[in-house]
Symmetry: C2
Subunit: 249 residues, 2 copies
């Protein structure tokens, strides 16, 4: 009845994901720690593109952690500009990007087919990286480095921060992650200063890292606020009946 | 680049979903209101099956609201029994059920292929119904009525409650929904007593209805608690870094 092999495999998803990321890190070991750490101005606004929606790419691999993607995706796609209600405009559009268009499985058994691949994805304004295993490390890192070099917003959720760290995007910067991984990542990526007990950290003006899992809501709401102000973010949270308070702090 | 037709269509998803449910309701109009309303004992425990995991089915249609499914799916699949950590067992297994195995699209553009159909899904112990449009109303209602008649747990999230109401499962009972729809559903389903400002309501011993969207986390955590106690639910919330407090009230 239930396909046991699939479900058994999913139970060890988090370990699989972390093992994959560890491999990525081992492939390019850190060479030393930095004494200078960059703290970005936390509340400097983000500027939306003119004449079109803000494009948000969610990188998904096999397997990936469902809520790290679903929380920010729902937040961005539901954010609405005034006038709110039937006439309000929606400023974000969202899509998934994988290393191929083959179906993949999320934590919980959800079967997902990526909308695009690294090679044919639309130019993104924001890219979201949640906890996931990695198959095409070169393609993945190239994609992130290209977006970052083009001054796009890059954000991680949960242990997705390890992808950014392994790609070298966080050297000399502050960051956060799931509370169970702060110590391990601090040792693994000594050029990154990991902060505990944070829903999110602005690691650089266009680089953000969130804590574990549902912390992705907090960071996505914060980014909505940085683009469109507090009232739009509050309306978005209310429309989702989201109860987490951290992004308002 | 961006497939505009898909994204334009998704922007009106909520309206589509609600219109579909309105059609379902119009097909079997309520015949009168009930003066007696059933309030279930809120904290009576739920009993897991022996010797196997608790099977949780998520009904998904085209389109469906992403977070109504993803929040409870992540909560159930991440719930862990003591001893927590590497040796802890995971008592829930989750899967999606659709009216066919054709790929469908969730709010945000996520392409999902259902794991099963109404006809071949494993027997579920819990079924989760979020906001969604309905194509095969007869198949959907039959599936829910069969599970309910077999004393399985049925839970709705957001406007998914309208499916339960239209299927007649909530007659003479209390319920809740997204805050924007309490008034409309009260008129549309006069046999159901809709309560506002609730994260969730236990409508009957095995029938639960949640408020809007992320209220699904609250209800899923509450159900975890009813099966396995407060410590397991607290650990689950903490492992997700979930900040919503309503389920603990």
């Amino acid at each position: 009845m239930i396909r046991k092999s699939v479900f058994a495999g999913l139970l060890s998803l988090m370990c699989v994901a972390y093992a994959g990321l560890a491999l990525a890190a081992d492939a390019s070991p850190p060479t030393g720690s930095s004494s200078e750490v960059f703290y970005a101005e936390p509340d400097s606004p983000l500027i939306p593109p003119k004449g079109r929606k803000i494009r948000v790419a969610f990188v998904v691999s096999n397997p990936f952690n469902l809520i790290d993607m679903a929380g920010p995706m729902q937040t961005f796609v539901q954010a609405q500009l005034p006038p709110f209600g039937d006439k309000g405009a929606y400023p974000f559009e969202t899509f998934t990007v994988g290393d191929s268009k083959q179906p993949i499985t999320a934590y919980g058994g959800l079967q997902v087919t990526p909308n695009y691949t690294f090679d044919n994805a639309p130019d993104a304004d924001i890219v979201v990286v949640g906890a996931q295993s990695i198959r095409d490390k070169d393609g993945y890192f190239s994609y992130l480095r290209r977006l970052s070099a083009n001054r796009k917003v890059v954000m991680s959720v949960c242990t997705g921060v390890a992808v950014l760290a392994a790609a070298g995007l966080l050297d000399g910067k502050v960051a956060t992650s799931h509370h169970d991984y702060i110590d391990d990542f601090s040792k693994r990526y000594p050029k990154v200063k990991f902060l505990a007990d944070k829903a999110y950290v602005r690691s650089a003006p266009l680089l953000f890292t969130a804590g574990g899992e549902t912390s992705g809501f907090e960071l996505a709401l914060h980014i909505v606020q940085l683009y469109f102000g507090r009232d739009v973010a509050l309306k978005t949270a209310r429309s989702m009946e989201y109860r987490g308070p951290a992004w308002q702090n």
